[in-house]
């Protein structure tokens, strides 16, 4: 078994009066793909965004409970969310490259965090990140072309390259393939499997097949509760909770 990377204890989230996450405790392992599944609106994204404190940017959002990254409380007042987000990268549902060149998209994170000194070092980081995102061969001849000019699947891989360029330890992905065609989806899934070697990957998905294909651990959310969490194979073949069973057999969703 791998080390515990992220550990959440009794997490509660409110959007004003809307209690979106109720008492969620979960341990996310390093070098593992963890899938969050559940009907839409059940709080998967909300919980995911707690892990890199993206919810801080929403005025009405209030988070309670503890989330530990390597044993340190990320909601401690001393923690700067900006530093946290360099360690916990995020890929969003809709590909959102900056309207800048491919190179600048990937180089942005290393630049603002001072991860590379000098042009050649930065070039190396960009190449490494693009290779990790399985995009290098497709774009190596047009690094100065606009990132927004790529196809949807390429854009999403560019966003993955941008996220891994800051050398994060955890990679959060919120339905990263939901806007993509099947071929691009397959590429992303393959990529996620490779990324597992270096990071703890947490992926939100509405596709149960995808969760079954890419993840080792699966967490099933329902109406803000974490209903069931365990080995992916066990959740899909032998769920304990009747709600999980209903969901994966298609009766709720």
């Amino acid at each position: 078994m791998n080390d515990i990377k992220v550990s959440a204890r009794d997490v509660q989230v409110w959007y004003a009066d809307n209690h979106a996450i109720k008492d969620v405790s979960v341990e996310i392992e390093d070098k593992t793909v963890t899938a969050f599944i559940g009907p839409s609106g059940c709080g998967k994204s909300t919980f995911l965004r707690c892990i890199n404190r993206m919810n801080d940017t929403i005025d009405i959002c209030r988070v309670e409970g503890d989330i530990l990254l390597d044993g340190e409380d990320i909601y401690d007042p001393q923690v700067d969310p900006v530093q946290l987000r360099a360690k916990v990268g995020m890929v969003f549902q809709k590909p959102n490259p900056f309207p800048k060149s491919i190179y600048d998209n990937v180089a942005y994170g290393p630049r603002i965090h001072g991860l590379a000194s000098g042009r050649s070092e930065l070039d190396a980081v960009v190449e490494k990140s693009l290779r990790r995102a399985a995009l290098w061969d497709e774009v190596k001849d047009r690094l100065n072309a606009s990132g927004t000019g790529l196809s949807g699947g390429q854009q999403q891989r560019l966003c993955i390259a941008r996220a891994v360029a800051t050398e994060p330890e955890v990679l959060l992905m919120d339905e990263p393939a939901s806007a993509l065609d099947p071929i691009a989806t397959a590429q992303i899934e393959e990529l996620i499997d490779e990324l597992r070697e270096k990071f703890a990957v947490v992926i939100v998905t509405h596709s149960m097949q995808q969760a079954a294909r890419v993840s080792q651990k699966t967490a099933f959310f329902h109406l803000g509760n974490l209903v069931e969490y365990g080995e992916t194979s066990q959740i899909f073949t032998n769920p304990v909770d009747p709600r999980t069973e209903s969901y994966i057999t298609g009766r709720i969703g």
Binding site: T57, V82, R85, F92, Y108, I112, A165
Partner: protein
């Protein structure tokens, strides 16, 4: 149960008969009515657009018809002997003494030179006395002469060729505003003088040329419309625009960024938002009263100074810029902000590296529209007295900001209140200049928007 559930179907079938598809080639009554109402609406839309265009064309045509002639001006070319006996009686060449000769002392020189020029070209003087002949020249001319002599005292005793303004009536004659018939009724001009002007025109003593002075000369008094120019007004407006640009743009953009990107949504920000929207709708004259009370009476800034006008216009422009900037910031998709925050950019880095560049076209457009509004504003400037009658130019910046000056729209208003019809021409000409500036600014706004526009 079965009967009940079947009955609605069977009855509806009974009413409509078996559903037979109608031909697409036959238009039914309902579609006809719908198409007719659409045609009516389109006609009304076209009518509205047509009326708008007609009004615009009519307005432009009348302004151009009235004002274009102000870009041309009639001049008399005449050799004038700068008589030392009149200008430098004791021959000392002492500038202080020469300066004692008022413009009145230069009139005889012009009178003499005109008579000589007419005799030289053998023109029929129409039986006019020398004084009446000299009246073809603008009353501005002695001052022109005096300025020249004070600038070049060494020319005294020599004969110099001067281009002097023809009087307003003569200028009007060559522009079609004054006719022989109107001259008969006019105390300021007679048909004989017009005929003499015709003769002088024939031999080339008098001609109509492009009127640079209109853009450079200061305003002139009621009796000499031919000398009136926009120089001081253009300069005053330019200084005010500099003040507005330097104050309203940074203030407005900073306020918008803070309100839009940093401040938390609460009662206070809502209140501020409502107030800004209301400020944008406050009549501009109110800003004038405010400026008078605060900047002149309280802060003690000089009256008629571009700095005060600029401050008042800044207050007026700020809400426009803030509203436009906030709209531009709002239009930047949140996904860009999330992307930047997601890789660990701080709020400020997110705004300055990603949001602001994307919002730039909108911000610039808003700023230029605000500036254009400020440029065309007259009411608040009237209140703070931006109608200074300045004989000389206001000094260059920075002193210029505190010197009395005028402003383009105020100068236009001022000219329309004067009696001489020649000022109507001047006012229309000034409107054309103002419109040209506004048009230029709008074109710049469009170009900037095109240039900065990016996809995301």
């Amino acid at each position: 149960m079965t009967v009940n559930s079947q009955s609605p179907t069977s009855s509806s079938q009974g009413q409509a008969g078996p559903r037979k598809s109608r031909s697409l080639l036959a238009v039914d009554a309902h579609t006809k009515r719908r198409n007719a109402s659409e045609a009516r609406f389109q006609f009304m839309g076209k009518l509205a657009v047509g009326i708008g265009i007609l009004a615009l064309v009519g307005l432009l045509a009348s302004i151009l018809a009235n004002g274009l002639s102000s870009f041309r001006q009639t001049y008399v070319t005449v050799d004038i002997f700068l008589d030392p006996a009149k200008l430098d009686k004791d021959g000392s060449g002492d500038l202080a003494k020469i300066a004692k000769v008022t413009t009145f002392g230069y009139k005889p020189l012009i009178k003499r030179a005109m008579a000589a020029a007419i005799a030289e070209h053998g023109i029929d003087d129409q039986g006019l006395k020398a004084k009446k002949i000299a009246a073809l020249i603008s009353p501005q001319a002695p001052a022109t002469l005096r300025n020249y002599v004070l600038a070049h005292p060494d020319q005294i005793g020599k004969t110099v060729a001067f281009n002097l303004l023809a009087s307003g009536r003569i200028d009007g004659y060559f522009k079609g505003r004054v006719t022989m018939d109107s001259a008969k009724l006019d105390r300021n001009i007679s048909p004989e003088q017009l005929r003499l002007a015709d003769e002088m025109h024939r031999v080339g003593l008098l001609e109509t040329r492009f009127n640079w002075a209109f853009f450079t000369a200061p305003d002139a008094s009621d009796t000499r419309p031919e000398a009136a120019g926009l120089g001081v007004a253009i300069l005053g407006s330019a200084y005010m625009m500099i003040v507005v640009l330097l104050l309203a743009l940074p203030l407005g953009v900073a306020a918008s960024i803070y309100l839009e990107e940093f401040s938390k949504q609460n009662f206070l920000t809502d209140l501020i938002e409502v107030n800004i929207s209301n400020l944008a709708a406050v009549p501009s004259i109110v800003f004038g009263i405010l400026g008078l009370a605060v900047f002149i009476n309280f802060a003690g800034l000089p009256k008629s100074a571009p700095i005060v006008g600029g401050l008042v216009l800044t207050l007026m422009t700020l809400p426009t810029i803030i509203i436009a900037t906030r709209a531009a910031l709002k239009a930047v998709p949140p996904s860009i902000r999330e992307a930047a925050l997601g890789v660990g950019a701080s709020k400020m880095q997110t705004v300055f590296h990603h949001v602001l560049p994307l919002a730039m076209p909108g911000i610039l457009t808003g700023a230029i529209i605000g500036l254009a509004q400020a440029l065309g504003e007259s009411a608040p400037l009237l209140l703070i007295g931006m109608v200074a009658f300045v004989r000389e130019y206001p000094a260059a910046p920075p002193e210029g900001f505190f010197d009395p000056a005028a402003a383009l729209p105020v100068q236009i208003y001022n000219w329309t209140t004067r009696g001489d019809p020649a000022f109507v021409e001047r006012a229309s000409g000034a409107i054309i200049v103002l419109l040209a500036f506004l048009l230029t600014m709008n074109i710049v706004a469009i170009i900037l928007r095109r240039r900065f526009e990016r996809r995301w």
